[in-house]
């Protein structure tokens, strides 16, 4: 299984993501510069955190309008797993691949610490290695992670089990304590907390590793077991 980690100008968690997948998970991974990239040879696309284009206009807005997003949208429509973490989540909402938007944190502060999260759904490509309701610890590092959507969107997120992670103690004002959501077809996950920074005990938590293991296992079951 091959992973692409997309680098935008201003991405700064690209190497963390690459390290998690390449060194800890032990899978093929490439850091892929967003321009002139060909993503068709990759099995999963990872959008890392950071401040793409300096957060100009709105976080993720300029990256979401870049050409590589057309490719990412095509792969998303074909069912390829796509994970956006932090700024990657903001890019996915700005691109319309996930509903809602990320607003300034309610207390206006940039926050950088560990949070305890509930795994709300283990029925996804990304979370099948977790137990439903399990509490995991991932770091957050964001100033604009306050998830917002209108009431109709919220109802449909709930009805389709699209809320994947929630905060045990809401740090940023997100509606319904939402920390991560998935698209309706279940292959695009966006989340503010950083699973890639929680992949070995010396980092403070290795709870994030199972997210990547879930992806590998589900990919293997779909493409290798049936081959």
């Amino acid at each position: 299984m091959r992973f692409a980690v997309i680098m935008f100008p201003g991405s700064n968690c690209d190497y963390d993501m690459y390290y998690a997948v390449k060194e800890i998970l032990g899978k093929d991974a490439d850091l892929v510069w967003y321009e002139n990239s060909n993503l068709s040879t990759y099995d999963a696309i990872l959008l890392p955190g950071g401040f793409s284009y300096g957060d100009y206009l709105r976080p993720g807005a300029v990256a979401a309008a870049s050409k590589v997003m057309n490719q990412i949208k095509e792969h998303a429509a074909k069912g390829k797993p796509i994970l956006g973490v932090c700024n990657g989540f903001q890019v996915l909402t700005e691109a319309g691949l996930l509903p809602g938007a990320l607003l300034r944190n309610q207390n206006l502060s940039f926050m950088c610490h560990y949070e305890s999260l509930y795994v709300e759904s283990d029925q996804t490509l990304f979370t099948s290695e977790y137990n439903p309701g399990e509490v995991v610890r991932f770091p957050i590092a964001h100033g604009e992670g306050n998830y917002f959507c209108d009431n109709n969107t919220l109802q449909s997120l709930k009805a389709n089990n699209q809320i994947v992670f929630t905060y045990q103690q809401n740090p940023n004002g997100s509606v319904e304590d939402i920390a991560g959501i998935i698209n309706e077809s279940g292959n695009v996950l966006g989340m503010m907390p950083h699973p890639e920074r929680a992949v070995e005990a010396m980092l403070g938590s290795d709870d994030g590793l199972r997210l990547f293991k879930s992806l590998v296992r589900n990919w293997r079951e779909t493409y290798v077991a049936n081959a």
């Binding site: 206009l57 709105r58 300029v62 309008a65 607003l103 309610q106």
Partner: protein
């Protein structure tokens, strides 16, 4: 060439913590009459004049300048500028 101002504000109903902080600060300066403050931005474009100018700026707002999930925008076509 025309000057076009795009005024972008958070939608009513979307919490604006920056606006709240400004309101609180104005209150602490003694301006108790301020009942609400909301922060937005103005983008000033210089656009080649054409019959489609306004429609094109609308499209720019939809595609990039505003996020319709959380923001409202208003387009104001201003004075002609020399190119």
């Amino acid at each position: 060439m025309k000057k076009v101002y795009v005024h972008i504000t958070l939608k009513q109903g979307v919490l604006d913590p920056q606006g709240k902080a400004i309101q609180a600060s104005l209150h602490s300066l003694g301006f108790q009459e301020v009942e609400d403050a909301r922060v937005g931005k103005v983008i000033e474009l210089h656009v080649q004049d054409s019959p489609h100018l306004e429609a094109n700026v609308q499209e720019m707002c939809q595609k990039l300048l505003a996020n319709p999930v959380i923001e409202d925008y208003r387009i104001e076509v201003g004075e002609a500028v020399r190119s």
